[in-house]
C-alpha cells in the first residue's frame, strides 16, 4: 500500500511541476507578443480598432499588469477549477474543453485498440520467427509504417474505402462505422514504434538465462513462450501503453482535422489560429492532467505485473 501512495505522490509532484513549467513558459511566450490577442479580438468584434479600444481591452483582460501577477491569478483560478473564458466565444474554457473531450477520448481508445491488434501479433511474430520471413515482414512494416505521414495514410484510406469503394463514411461521428477509418489511421500510424519495441524486448527475453533454464527443465515451447517469455514482455506492453498516451493525444489532433471529428483537435487549431490564449492554456492543462493520470495507471499496473517493483528494484 505504501508503494502505491509513493507512486501517486511522485506522479502528483510530476503533474505540478509539468503544469507549472509549461504554463509559465506559455505565459512568458505570450508576454513576447502582448498586443496580438487584443487585435484578434478587435477584428472578431468587427469594430473600428482604435488605440483607445485596444487600451480598454488591455485593461479589461489585465494584459497591462505584470506577468507574474497575471500568472498568479491564473494559477489561483486553476485551483478553483476556473480556467478563464475564451477571448473569442466568451464561454468558460473548461466547458468548451469538457464538451469536446469525450469525442477525443473515444477516438483515442479506438486508435489504441487498433494499435494493440496490429502491434502485439506483429511484434510476437517478429521475435518468435526471428530471421525468417515473418520477422522481415514485421520489420519492414515497422520501418515503412514509421515513414508514412498519418494524415496522408488517412487520405489514402478515405480515397480507397470511401471514394472508390464507397464502403465507409468519412466525416463526423454519427455511427460506429464512422469510428473505423479514423481509428485505423490512428492505430496504424502509431503501431510501428511498438512493433519494434515489443519485438526487440521479446527477442531479448527469449535469450535470457531464465528461458534457457525453463527449457532445461523440459517445459514445452508454448508454455515457455506464453507463461514465461510473454509475461516478461507484458512489461514493455505496459510501457507501450504508457508511452502511447502522449503520442496518441498528439497524433489524434491531425486525424481529427482530417476526418472532421468533433474533438479537441478542432478546438485547439481554431484557438491557435485566433490566438485564443485562455483556451490554449486550458488545453495544455487538461492534456497534462490526462498524461499524468494515464502514467499513474501504468505505474500501478507495473507493480501488479512485476512483483520485484514492490522492492523498488528495477527489472528492465
Amino acid at each position: 500500500m505504501k508503494q502505491f501512495l509513493l507512486i501517486i505522490g511522485s506522479r502528483m509532484l510530476q503533474l505540478i511541476i509539468m503544469v507549472l513549467v509549461l504554463s509559465f513558459i506559455t505565459f512568458l511566450l505570450m508576454k513576447i507578443t502582448p498586443g496580438d490577442p487584443i487585435r484578434t479580438m478587435l477584428n472578431v468584434e468587427d469594430m473600428a480598432a482604435t488605440k483607445a479600444d485596444e487600451e480598454r481591452l488591455m485593461k479589461e483582460y489585465k494584459f497591462d499588469r505584470p506577468i507574474l501577477e497575471q500568472y498568479g491569478e491564473w494559477v489561483i483560478g486553476v485551483l478553483q477549477l476556473d480556467l478563464g473564458e475564451s477571448l473569442i466565444s466568451k464561454r468558460p474554457v473548461l466547458d468548451m474543453i469538457l464538451e469536446k473531450l469525450p469525442a477525443t477520448l473515444s477516438l483515442s481508445i479506438g486508435g489504441l485498440v487498433v494499435l494493440f491488434i496490429i502491434a502485439v501479433p506483429m511484434g510476437v511474430l517478429g521475435a518468435v520467427y526471428e530471421g525468417r520471413w515473418p520477422d522481415y515482414l514485421s520489420r519492414w512494416t515497422a520501418l515503412t509504417g514509421a515513414s508514412i505521414p498519418s494524415f496522408w495514410l488517412g487520405i489514402m484510406l478515405i480515397y480507397v474505402f470511401s471514394v472508390q469503394l464507397n464502403l465507409l463514411p468519412v466525416m463526423g461521428k454519427a455511427t460506429l462505422a464512422h469510428f473505423i477509418l479514423p481509428s485505423v489511421t490512428l492505430g496504424v500510424a502509431m503501431a510501428p514504434l511498438y512493433i519494434r519495441l515489443l519485438r526487440e524486448r521479446l527477442i531479448a527475453t527469449l535469450q535470457s538465462s531464465y528461458i534457457e533454464a525453463a527449457k532445461a527443465r523440459g517445459l514445452g515451447k508454448k508454455r515457455i513462450l506464453f507463461s514465461h517469455a510473454l509475461r516478461g514482455s507484458l512489461i514493455p506492453l505496459v510501457t507501450m501503453f504508457g508511452l502511447s498516451i502522449g503520442g496518441l493525444l498528439g497524433g489524434v489532433t491531425v486525424i481529427e482535422i482530417l476526418f472532421s471529428w468533433p474533438g479537441m483537435g478542432e478546438l485547439i487549431v481554431n484557438a491557435v489560429m485566433s490566438r485564443d490564449y485562455p483556451v490554449i492554456q486550458g488545453y495544455i492543462l487538461i492534456i497534462g492532467f490526462l498524461v499524468v493520470v494515464s502514467n499513474l495507471v501504468v505505474d500501478i499496473m507495473y507493480v501488479i505485473i512485476n512483483p520485484q517493483l514492490y522492492n523498488g528494484k528495477e527489472s528492465m
Partner: protein, 272 residues
C-alpha cells in the same frame, strides 16, 4: 565400463561460419560419478553441456554421438529430448538469478516443472516441492511462496538445486555453480550436491574453471583446452601425474596455501 551412464563419442560443433568450436570430444561418465570438466573460458565446457541438453542455438552444427543410457540424444526428436530434460538430466547454471523466471513464485515454477514430467495433482506436486526444499535445509514454506528476488543468492541457488533434484534425475550438470557465489556459500552448495549425489546415485558433471574445487570434489577430471579434451583420468592421477603440457600449466597455476606448499612442492604444484 558397464555402469556407463553417458558416453560422448567424437562430438563436434561448428559455428554458423564453419569455425570449429568443439573438436571431437570423447567422454564417459559412470552412474553416480562426480566428473569434473575443467578448462578456461572459451575451452568449450559450457558448449558441451548445452549439446547434451540439446539447447544449443539453432545455427550451430552438431555431429557425433551422445549416448545416454544407450540412446543417442542427437537422434531424438525435439519433443523426446525435451521430456528427458528435467526428469533424467538436470542442470544448474552459474547465474543463479537466471534459474527461475523472475516474476513467478518459486513454488509455482516447481509445480510447473514437476507436473510437466509426472501426472500428479497440484497438491501432490506441492508436497513434493516442499519436501525437496526442506531437504536442502531451506525454510520450505517461505521459499515456496517467495519470488526469486526475495531470497539471497545462496538461497536461490539451493532452491534451484532442489527443484532440479525433485524429479530424481540420473544426471546433474553443474555449470560453474559456485562462480557467482562467495567462497563459503559455494562450499555449502557443493556439499549439498555431493550429499544428494550419494543419496540418489545421480551422476554429476561439474563444469568449473576452479582447480581447487575439482581436486576437492571430483572422482574423475576431464581437462578441456580450445575445444578438445586434452587429458582425462582419475582426479588423483591428473593432479599428481599429468602428462599433457596444458594440464601441467593449468595445475601449476593453482597457487598453494602455505601449508600445502611444504606438503606438495615435490609434486610440481606452483611454488615460489
Amino acid at each position: 565400463m558397464s555402469n556407463s551412464l553417458l558416453t560422448v563419442n567424437n562430438l563436434t560443433i561448428e559455428s554458423r561460419s564453419g569455425e570449429p568450436l568443439l573438436k571431437g570430444i570423447n567422454m564417459e561418465i559412470g552412474r553416480g560419478e562426480m566428473a569434473a570438466l575443467i578448462g578456461e573460458s572459451g575451452s568449450g565446457k559450457s558448449l558441451t553441456a548445452r549439446a547434451i541438453l540439446g539447447i544449443l542455438p539453432d545455427e550451430m552444427k552438431v555431429n557425433g554421438q551422445i549416448l545416454y543410457k544407450g540412446r543417442d540424444l542427437l537422434k531424438l526428436s525435439e519433443n523426446e529430448h525435451r521430456l528427458l530434460l528435467g526428469k533424467e538430466i538436470g542442470i544448474i547454471f552459474q547465474d543463479y538469478r537466471g534459474s527461475f523466471t523472475p516474476y513467478i513464485k518459486i513454488g509455482q515454477q516447481m509445480i510447473e516443472t514437476i507436473r510437466t514430467h509426472q501426472r500428479i495433482s497440484k497438491k501432490a506436486a506441492k508436497e513434493a516441492a516442499l519436501l525437496v526444499l526442506r531437504e536442502t535445509g531451506l525454510e520450505s514454506e517461505r521459499v515456496y511462496n517467495s519470488y526469486p528476488f526475495q531470497l539471497s543468492g545462496g538461497q536461490v541457488q539451493r532452491a534451484a538445486i532442489s527443484m532440479t533434484l525433485a524429479l530424481r534425475p540420473n544426471m546433474l550438470i553443474c555449470d560453474e555453480v559456485t562462480t557467482a557465489l562467495d567462497l563459503m556459500n559455494g562450499e555449502k552448495v557443493l556439499k549439498y550436491i555431493d550429499k544428494a549425489r550419494r543419496e540418489t546415485d545421480c551422476a554429476v558433471m561439474m563444469i568449473t574453471h576452479d582447480l581447487a574445487q575439482a581436486y576437492k570434489w571430483s572422482d574423475r577430471m576431464h581437462v578441456m583446452y580450445q575445444g578438445a579434451i586434452v587429458e582425462d583420468g582419475p582426479t588423483e592421477q591428473i593432479r599428481f601425474h599429468h602428462q599433457h603440457p596444458y594440464t601441467r600449466k593449468l595445475c601449476s597455476s593453482l597457487l598453494s596455501l602455505p601449508k600445502e606448499r611444504k606438503a606438495s612442492s615435490a609434486e610440481g604444484v606452483y611454488s615460489i
